[in-house]
Each structure stands twice: as structure tokens, then as C-alpha cells.
């Protein structure tokens, strides 16, 4: 049985369709992230699970209980859904102390004083905020507020923890640290978590599975690696970093031994080689070849069947650990993240290659319809 089940859920605001027939299943103990640009419907989806927004179509279940069924007009208000939630603004109530904030869900549930004391302190210890229990809430830094918000969401052991861009108000360094800490805590306690973010690095670092959304639709669901290396469409590919997308034609296609993928031989404008794909292509079909800039090796002797180009470096930007270079070859421009120690300069003639498995083939958008 899954912890959260979202079936065909839609949400319209007047004529605007914010969420369009979304299906999603979150398993117990799983960390699932809804990822997408602003306005893609990810927050609305989360709010519908929370009960802060009512779905206009479809059905939502939490655990074995249906909490909202638009067709039957059935709706459980948020306070009866037993969820924990961390808001983007943290929503720490400024008129209470840290202790009171965290104790709030327990007081609402009329727990005994001793139990409240014990559970609040235990939860505060978990997020290392027990020293600040009597501090008034406004006297906290951003990171501390975030810990309190997490403690408050965890204190009554909710079935599912919902997080709405909880790290976006922190500075970059703290964001990574808090993210890692939270992921460790989540794994240790096995809390089912549904997380919303627009930051792809955050999504990849934290999640078991990532749900990429756009325009109210789900584009792809999968493990971070899969989404990154094997996107189903150009849109998903372009959402992570700035990949090279090269037009090519399929010359051969055969199933890969031992996997569910296919091995393609493709021809580009003056180059050719092998790429993987998740579906079968007919010879002569157009494909887009996705090559991540960091997968390209400079100066390597190309292995058999690997894609390779020779060209002139037209730009080079030193970024510390690596150098971003671009080479131009027979009308194709390829961006490469190269190790900084290579000392590449603009004007150098270099040979670059993509090792086997570094090239991924997807259908061009116009061909998908």
C-alpha cells in the first residue's frame, strides 16, 4: 500500500488549468520531489495533497484512506489529514516560543502535559534545537527557523511530510547543509516525504524519485540519475543544466543485450557514432542526441563507435574546478566542461569524444506528436 496516491487529479482556477490529470504514487518511507519551473503546478499539487486546495477532478488517498474525491464531492479538510508540512516561509508563529510552536500540533490533539514536554524536547533534540526551546520564535536565524518548522511538522509523527520549497530562503551554503541534514534525518526515521522545489540540484541530491512537471503535466517520473542521464524529452533534458542537443538521423537500431534499452547508430552532419535510446527507432528517423557537457572528454582517443569531433575552441571560461569551453566543428557547436588543468586556450584545435553510454537519443518534439 502506498503512502500517497494521486489519481487523475486536476485543479482549475476559472479557465486556467493549473494541474492537469496528474497521477502519482509515493511509497512508504520514500522521498519524492516535485520539480519544475514556477507555475508548473507542483505547489498546487502539494497543496491539494495537504487539503489547502480542493482538487476539481480525480482522487487523492493518504495511506488507506481516501481524503478527497472530486467526483463524489468528498473532501477531508486539512486538519483531519494527519500531515506534517514545512512551508516556504516556515510560517513560524511569531507570538510563540520555539517550544510552543513545536508543541502546537500536540496541544491541538489534547496530549498530556508530560507527553508534550517529552515529545517536543525529543523532536527538538533531533533537529539540534533543544537549547533554544524557550527562545521567542522571531529571534531565530533562517536556518534555525527551518529546523523548528521541521520539528513542528515531525512532532506528532505524521503519515506524510510535505515540504514546500523549504530551502529556498536560505543562502547557498546553508541550503546544501540543511538539505543533507534533512535527507539523513528522513532516511533514519523513514518518513514518507513529498517535496517541492524548482532547484534541480536540490531535487537530485535529496530524492529517491523525482517528478518533473511542466504546465500542469507530469513530464517524467524517475530516479534522479535516470532523469538526468535518460530524459524522455527535450524539455526534461533542457531542465537540467545546458546539454548539447544535436540533430542526427538513425542508420541502425538494435536492442541492447541485457537491458531494456536500444543501441542506435546515428549520423550527424559530418560525424557518426553510437547512442542509447529507451525506444525503438526506424532507420532514417530524425533523433536528438543528448550529450552532457561534462561527459565529453578532450583529447581522448575515441573508442570504437564513440561519437567524436575535431574542432577549434571558440570560447573558454575558467570556473575554478573546471573550464567551460565551446568548440565549433562543421557547423556544430559543442559545450564541454573540461578539467581546468588541461590549460585549453581559445584557438586551440582539439579532438573531443563521448565515451560509450554518454550519448542518449530522444525523439525530437515535433515527431512526438
Amino acid at each position: 500500500m502506498s503512502a500517497v496516491l494521486v489519481e487523475d487529479v486536476s485543479r482549475t482556477f476559472g479557465d486556467v488549468i493549473a494541474v492537469n490529470r496528474v497521477n502519482l504514487k509515493v511509497e512508504r518511507g520514500e522521498f519524492v520531489t516535485l520539480l519544475g519551473p514556477s507555475g508548473c503546478g507542483k505547489t498546487t499539487t502539494l497543496r491539494m495533497v495537504a487539503g489547502l486546495e480542493q482538487n476539481t477532478g480525480g482522487r487523492i488517498s493518504i495511506g488507506d484512506r481516501v481524503v478527497s474525491d472530486a467526483e463524489k464531492g468528498f473532501f477531508v479538510p486539512p486538519d483531519h489529514r494527519q500531515l506534517g508540512m514545512v512551508f516556504q516561509s516556515y510560517a513560524i508563529w511569531p507570538h510563540m516560543t520555539v517550544f510552543d510552536n513545536v508543541a502546537y500540533p500536540l496541544r491541538i490533539r489534547r496530549k498530556s502535559k508530560a507527553e508534550i514536554e517529552q515529545r517536543v524536547m525529543a523532536t527538538l533534540r533531533l533537529v539540534e534545537m533543544d537549547k533554544f526551546a524557550q527562545r521567542p520564535a522571531p529571534a531565530l536565524s533562517g536556518g534555525q527557523q527551518q529546523r523548528v518548522a521541521i520539528a513542528r511538522a515531525l512532532v506528532f509523527e505524521p503519515e506524510v511530510l510535505l515540504l514546500d520549497e523549504p530551502l529556498s530562503n536560505l543562502d547557498a551554503r546553508l541550503r546544501t547543509q540543511m538539505g543533507d541534514e534533512f535527507r539523513a534525518l528522513q532516511k533514519r526515521l523513514g518518513i514518507t516525504s513529498l517535496y517541492v522545489t524548482h532547484d534541480q540540484e536540490e531535487a537530485m541530491a535529496l530524492s529517491d524519485r523525482v517528478v518533473v512537471m511542466h504546465g500542469g503535466h507530469i513530464l517524467q517520473i524517475g530516479a534522479p540519475e535516470e532523469i538526468y542521464q535518460r530524459p524522455v524529452s527535450r524539455m526534461v533534458a533542457a531542465f537540467f543544466g545546458s546539454p548539447n542537443l544535436l540533430d542526427a538521423k538513425v542508420s541502425a537500431c538494435e536492442p541492447e543485450a541485457g537491458t531494456r534499452y536500444f543501441q542506435l547508430t546515428v549520423n550527424g552532419n559530418g560525424w557518426q557514432g553510437k547512442a542509447r535510446a529507451s525506444e525503438k527507432f526506424e532507420p532514417g528517423e530524425s533523433v536528438l542526441i543528448l550529450v552532457r557537457p561534462e561527459s565529453v572528454r578532450v583529447g581522448d582517443q575515441a573508442a570504437d563507435g564513440a561519437l567524436s569531433w575535431t574542432g577549434k575552441i571558440v570560447s573558454s571560461i575558467f570556473r575554478g574546478p573546471r573550464t567551460s569551453i565551446a568548440i565549433e566543428t562543421s557547423g556544430v557547436r559543442i559545450n564541454i566542461e573540461a578539467p581546468a588543468i588541461l590549460g585549453l586556450k581559445v584557438g586551440d584545435q582539439v579532438k573531443v569524444a563521448v565515451p560509450a553510454g554518454g550519448a542518449w537519443a530522444i525523439r525530437p518534439e515535433d515527431a512526438q506528436k
Binding site: 489547502l52 464531492g73 508540512m85 511569531p94 500540533p105
Partner: protein, 593 residues
């Protein structure tokens, strides 16, 4: 657990309107009731009813009365005589007087207010926090008290100022006479300046210093920056204060009553008052027609204000807490300091001192040791009218402030936090009294109460005053509460809902718990408004339902300036006590939020 669509209202205002639409035709009975929100419609209906009675009803009765040839409650015919009388040559002079006086006090008052606000918010003048409290104090003193005090201070024959002048120069001429145009303007300025100061000082304080710094970095001088950046950013606040001051000047009653009538200077409010109270046969139709005409004029002024300010409100106030640029004045800071103190002395110390002195001497104007007495205190203590009006005022103040703030809190919640249908109408109705002078609303209620069916005997009781005070106070209470709600993000409520609290629990534990300091501050403001109110009270009181301001006016008219001083002094103590409580509340709120 089957809990059907949450009944009774939703805390998430953003999309609550859309949320409450019935989803599909085949819903269950329970959810059908909830989705048509019977409770919500009843609530909206009751709110509309109360508001209509408080604002729309007196307004339409005003129109009715202006066409009606006889006093309220008597059979008569409908004609335009009232409006014909309004269009007379004397009334042109009255209109010119009214507007002229209002302009004459607004221009110096706003200049002074900007200067004082700058000193308090943007310079290193010593003791700025205390100065600010002192400067704003005159706003909280009922103008009737300062008017009486200045009537004594600036009296041509026995006024302290003239006596001091004569003593210093050895002459017998009296340079000061408050019973004049100058006196009216002078008195209005005193309570209008701190009011404008309160409006302007925050926009001075909350300005992002980087806006000015970037001007300096572009090579602009300090003065150029002030003119082209600071002042221009402040302009919307200044223009809106200007309009507000103009409107309040036209509405003003106390100053022209005390200083204008004896000198034969009439403005619109005193003309209405005269027509009803000081003529052999009260000219109700004329007074009502005049009231309605002035209402219409106010309406045009307010529209003009809107046009002036459209799209001009720059948000210089952001959530970020930064300290504004402070100008270092060097030795000049003692000059600005003295300036503020001087303002305080003139507007508070002088009149209050006069009241204190006046209360201990047998006759005001004759200050020698053998004239010292406590007789006036015992006279006041034995004065039954005083005790009755004091208890009336206290009762009305406590009840009125509480009722007005609760009403304002509910209206603000509906208009700010929900998407209910009808909330725009509620907002507009609640705002209507904003442009009605107390005098006009008083006339409106006179008609309104008289036209009520027999079994509702409101007219002549203190409940008549209570309703009038509530109508006058509602715009402010709505404003205070809606700004309080605006500051609270929806997250705070939603977070409470998700973590298990019901709608009522959230309302109580989060919204009210967070908004109550604003509620208390608004309560004190409304309370002040009620104890100082004169213009509506003077029309609506009757024997037994006098309030303090009315009793004071009667005593003054009987020439008992000494007893007036005693009562005035007590009211001052009350004002200072409540102001202290209010400041304490604000301080607490700032330290916790």
C-alpha cells in the same frame, strides 16, 4: 473518517471563492448545504444589514430630509425649499470661509509636520523617541479642551498672553485675539500637525536608504537628493495627507464654534449647528439640505484625491528591516531639539497649564494668592450633570470602542482574508462614513431615528449616540484591522490547519492571538475618538444622555470657565493614561514581532 467539505468558512482566502463552488451536481445532502454555504450567506446578510443601518440608512434619510418641509417625524410635503435656501449669497461666503480656513491651516500644518517628521526620523536630534511621543500628544487631546484653554489664554481682556505682553511692554494694547480667523487657524493647526506627522513619519522612516545612497553615488548633493529622491518618494504620502487635512479642516467643528461664532465667522459645520440649535424655529430642512450638499462636495474631494494618487503609491516600505539614513546635524541638533520642545510647550504645556491654573483660582483672569481656591473641585464633584455625563461617556467609550473594533475586525477579515461574494459592497459601506463630517452624520441620524417605527425608541437615548459613534469609528477600525491582517501571511493560518487545528482553533490561536495588539491599539484610538466627539453628540444628545463634551460646552456657555478647567484637567489625565497604555502595547508588540 468522513468529514465533508469544511463548513463555515475557509481560512485560505486566495482561492476560497473558487473552492466553495459546488463541484458536481450529484453531491450528498450534507456537502450540498456546505457548498451552498447557507451559514456564510446568512453571515454576509447580517453584516450588510448592520452596515446599511449604520451608514446607508442615515445617508438616505439625509436625502429624504433635505426634501421634506417639516422637522423629523412630522407630516409635511416634499419640496426643494431647503436647496433653494442653500443657494444664497451668505452661503457663498460661508463656503469660502470654510475652504479658505482649511487651506490656511493645512499649508503651515503640513510644512511643520514634514519638518518635525524629518527631525524625528532622519536626524540625530537627541531624545527623538521621547520627542515623537510629545509631538503627537496634541492629537490625542480632545480639541474642545484646547479650544477652551486657548479661549482663556488668548482672551483679549483677561488672557494670560495679553497680560504678559502688557506686563513686559508696559502698554495696554492686546496684540492677541483668538476670536478671529487667525485664532481658528491657529487652533486647527495644533491638532492637525501631529495628525499629519503620524501619517508622514513612517514613510520617512521606512524608506530604503539605498534609494538615497544610489543618488549620492551618482554624484548628487545631499540637498539635490532630498529634493529629487527623498521628497519625490514621499510625495504620495504628502499629497494624501494634504487632502486628508483639507477634508478634516472642512469637517472641523470645535475651532469655528469656539473662535468663529463669537467673532461672527461662520463655516459650514457651525451653520448647520446654528440652523438647528440657535434659531427660533429650527430650520431642519435647510440644515439637512446643507448637510447633503456638503456630503456631495466631500464625495467630489475624495474622488479628486483618488485621481491625484492613482498609481502614485510607491512601495518604499518593504518587509526588510533597515535603519534609514540619519543626518548628522552637529550643534544644530540642539536647535531642532529646542524646536520640537517649543512645539510641545505651545500645543500641550500652555493649554494644560492654563487649565490647571484656571481650576485653582476663584475667577479665571484674576491670579493672586488670595484668589486660590478648591471650590471648583468640590463644585464639580457635587455636580450631578458632570457625574452623569462622565458615566455616559465612559459607558459609550468602552461599549462603543469594543463594538466598533469587533465590527471592524469582522469586516476587515471578510474583505482581506476571504473571497466571499459581497465583500466589496461591505468594504464600500464601511468606508462611507469616512467622508461624512460628524455634524452631517448627526443630522442624518436625527432623521434616521425619528423615522424608525414607534416600538424602537432609540432617539434621545444613549444608544443613539452609540450607533453614531460606531458609524464614525468603523472606517478607522476597518483600516487598522485590515492592515493587521495584511501583515500576517496565509502560511501562518494554513500551517495551523495542516497541523490539525480546525478553522475555529486557527482563528482563535493564530489569527486573533497575532492581531490582538492591533485590535488594542485600534480600540484605544476609537475610544479617544468617542470621548472627544462633539459635533454628532451635540445634535443627538438629550436630557439624561449628555456626554462629557456636551456638558463642557454647556458649562462654558454659562461662563463657568473654572469648572470647565477642572473637568478638562481630569480628561487630560485620562488621555495621558490611555496614551501611556497604548504606547506600552505598541512597544511590546514591536519587541515580540
Amino acid at each position: 473518517m468522513a468529514v465533508v467539505a469544511d463548513a463555515g468558512g475557509s481560512p485560505d482566502g486566495k482561492f476560497a471563492g473558487a473552492l466553495r463552488r459546488p463541484l458536481t451536481p450529484k453531491t450528498g445532502i450534507l456537502s450540498h448545504i456546505a457548498s451552498t454555504s447557507l451559514g456564510r450567506n446568512i453571515g454576509i446578510g447580517i453584516l450588510l444589514l448592520i452596515l446599511s443601518f449604520l451608514t446607508l440608512y442615515p445617508l438616505s434619510m439625509l436625502f429624504y430630509g433635505s426634501l421634506h418641509s417639516t422637522p423629523p417625524g412630522m407630516a409635511g410635503e416634499f419640496n426643494l425649499d431647503g436647496y433653494r435656501q442653500v443657494l444664497s449669497a451668505e452661503n457663498v461666503l460661508i463656503l469660502i470661509n470654510t475652504v479658505g480656513i482649511s487651506f490656511a491651516k493645512t499649508i503651515p500644518a503640513i510644512t511643520l509636520a514634514v519638518l518635525l517628521a524629518w527631525i524625528c526620523a532622519r536626524t540625530d536630534t537627541p531624545g527623538r523617541g521621547v520627542l515623537e511621543v510629545l509631538i503627537t500628544l496634541p492629537f490625542f487631546i480632545p480639541p474642545i479642551l484646547t479650544a477652551m484653554a486657548w479661549g482663556m489664554l488668548g482672551n483679549k481682556q483677561v488672557g494670560v498672553i495679553n497680560m504678559a505682553w502688557q506686563w513686559m511692554t508696559g502698554t495696554t494694547d492686546s496684540p492677541i485675539n483668538v476670536y478671529s480667523y487667525g485664532g481658528i487657524v491657529w487652533h486647527m493647526m495644533q491638532y492637525s500637525t501631529p495628525f499629519l506627522f503620524l501619517f508622514i513619519v513612517d514613510s520617512f522612516r521606512a524608506m530604503d536608504p539605498s534609494l538615497e545612497e544610489s543618488s549620492r553615488m551618482c554624484g548628487a548633493s545631499r540637498w539635490f537628493t532630498f529634493r529629487r529622491v527623498t521628497f519625490m518618494l514621499m510625495l504620495p504620502a504628502i499629497v494624501s495627507s494634504f487632502m486628508l487635512s483639507l477634508i478634516r479642516g472642512i469637517e472641523s467643528f470645535e475651532s469655528p464654534l469656539f473662535f468663529g461664532l463669537p467673532a461672527g465667522i461662520t463655516v459650514i459645520t457651525t451653520e448647520i449647528y446654528n440652523a438647528i440649535n440657535h434659531r427660533a424655529t429650527p430650520a431642519y430642512q435647510y440644515a439637512t439640505a446643507l448637510s447633503f450638499a456638503i456630503m456631495a462636495g466631500m464625495f467630489l474631494l475624495v474622488i479628486w484625491q483618488w485621481i491625484l494618487l492613482r498609481g502614485r503609491s510607491y512601495t518604499t516600505v518593504t518587509g526588510k528591516g533597515y535603519s534609514p539614513n540619519i543626518t548628522k546635524l552637529g550643534p544644530w541638533r540642539w536647535v531642532t531639539f529646542s524646536f520640537c520642545i517649543l512645539f510641545f510647550i505651545i500645543t500641550v504645556v500652555l493649554p494644560v497649564g492654563q487649565l490647571a491654573v484656571g481650576s485653582f483660582f476663584k475667577f479665571f483672569g484674576f491670579y493672586s494668592w488670595d484668589m486660590l481656591t478648591l471650590d471648583h473641585y468640590s463644585a464639580v464633584m457635587q455636580n450631578k450633570d458632570f457625574w452623569r455625563s462622565l458615566s455616559n461617556t465612559m459607558l459609550l467609550g468602552l461599549l462603543g470602542a469594543t463594538a466598533t473594533m469587533i465590527l471592524g475586525g469582522i469586516i476587515a477579515y471578510v474583505t482581506v482574508r476571504t473571497r466571499w461574494r459581497g465583500r466589496k459592497l461591505i468594504d464600500a459601506l464601511a468606508w462611507l462614513p469616512w467622508m461624512m463630517p460628524g455634524m452631517v452624520l448627526g443630522v442624518g441620524f436625527l432623521w434616521a431615528f425619528a423615522m424608525l417605527p414607534g416600538p424602537i425608541p432609540i432617539y434621545g437615548t444613549i444608544w443613539a449616540l452609540l450607533l453614531a459613534y460606531m458609524a464614525l469609528g468603523t472606517p478607522i477600525s476597518v483600516r487598522v484591522m485590515s492592515s493587521a491582517y495584511h501583515q500576517l501571511s496565509f502560511d501562518l493560518e494554513e500551517c495551523s490547519r495542516v497541523h490539525g487545528a480546525s478553522w475555529w482553533q486557527t482563528l482563535w490561536r493564530i489569527l486573533i492571538a497575532l492581531a490582538w495588539p492591533s485590535f488594542a491599539v485600534g480600540w484605544v484610538l476609537t475610544f479617544f475618538g468617542i470621548i472627544r466627539e462633539l459635533s454628532a453628540s451635540i445634535l443627538l444628545y438629550s436630557v439624561g444622555s449628555e456626554v462629557l463634551s456636551v456638558t463642557l460646552l454647556k458649562l462654558w456657555a454659562n461662563g463657568q470657565a473654572e469648572q470647565v478647567s477642572v473637568i478638562g484637567l481630569m480628561m487630560m489625565l485620562l488621555v495621558i493614561f490611555f496614551r501611556w497604555v497604548q504606547l506600552k502595547l505598541i512597544k511590546q508588540r514591536i519587541s515580540t514581532l
